[in-house]
Amino acid sequence: MSFRALPEHALDLLDDEALIAYIRAATEAGAEADALRGLAVLVYGYARQVERRMALRLPAHVVEDVAHEALVRAVGSAFHGRSTGEFRSWLHTIADRTVVDWYRRRERSPAQVALGEDDSTGIEAVDSATGLVELQMLIADLMLELNDRHRQVVDLHVFGDLTAREVCDRIDGVSPDNVAQIASRFRHNLRSRLNPAVGEGST
């Protein structure tokens, strides 16, 4: 199999799956510098996202180490064909598991570990790590209850921060009013499901 090296700017344009295939091909061809360049683009592209997500769940002083471990596990298994689905989803799944592992290692109930309890920011606990993983499952469940078009609207408008007009330009057959209604219903449902966690009166 022939391997053709690509410059950084071209690697940056590859999607994750193509980039991983490139890294694999470079490694098999013994092109160490090219494999490292591909890994640099992939790891750099997600490292801070993973760290930010972990900052919601972990004390600040362990975020970098736990993020490193998650990235190694996710990229390593994807490289060796042991991941499932698209890489980005796989990475975030592994990141969530790595956080839970961290709490298990501490042999503490996650609920007893205040977020940032040993951080200089002094932020109060949001929830346990497990709780936040469950929150993402809750969001995933809410998304599954939507039809494809409504799911796209929520992705683009709520999580993608596109305006209602911009969403309409991308999805046929919806009006700005529809977009606002779908997003409002999604947020309402999210708050309703969260109510037991956030307490009475927070509607």
Partner: protein, 183 residues
């Protein structure tokens, strides 16, 4: 627009403009009752955000460079993900390679042969020692030192490796070889 919607919008704008986008600073701006929802929204956004564009200058001084280099060594070697994971775990345990070798040798009962244990451990970090070449006892001892489960450490070593039987003892082996490599 609710406070959380506004803060999520601000957060996304900061993230997309390449700012720090530290989620904790945003959570600090809302009452406790709204914090879980805002955390879920920010987390949901980050989990869906596309890969960031590569910045070679920022990369050089970022933790990502260490991660990428460790992965490259791993993929090139025969020790699974150990080259990417072990140096970091050792550092988290507050040990340099010689300190780890000393502790590992002592706990294996091979304190008199620390240099050989150190050499084997170094091969694990370099990716030149296949996981089949490390005994269960050595792996369990190492796992305890770096605060990981033996199963997790074994699994990391096996990623990318074919399943091989443990290495058979050689006539030339001394008791440290047997302790570390099995047989």
């Amino acid at each position: 627009m609710s406070v959380n919607e506004r803060l999520l919008t601000e957060y996304i704008a900061e993230h997309r403009s390449g700012g720090d986008a530290d989620p904790r600073l945003y959570l600090n701006r809302v009452p406790d009752a709204d914090r879980v929802e805002l955390a879920a929204l920010i987390d949901g956004y980050l989990a869906r955000a596309p890969r960031a564009a590569f910045d070679p200058n920022d990369y050089k001084s970022s933790p990502a460079s260490t991660t990428a280099q460790g992965l490259e060594r791993s993929f090139r070697g025969s020790s699974g993900l150990w080259p990417a994971l072990l140096p970091r775990l050792r550092a988290q345990a507050g040990l340099d390679p010689s300190q780890l070798a000393g502790r590992l040798a002592a706990q294996l009962g091979a304190a008199h042969n620390e240099s050989k244990v150190g050499a084997y451990y170094e091969q694990m970090e370099r990716g030149t020692l296949p996981p089949a070449g490390v005994s269960s006892h050595a792996l369990e001892t190492l796992a305890a030192i770096v605060d990981r489960s033996p199963a997790a450490l074994a699994e990391a070593g096996m990623i990318g490796s074919s399943i091989q039987p443990e290495v058979a003892a050689d006539d030339e082996w001394d008791e440290t070889d047997v302790l570390f490599r099995g047989g």
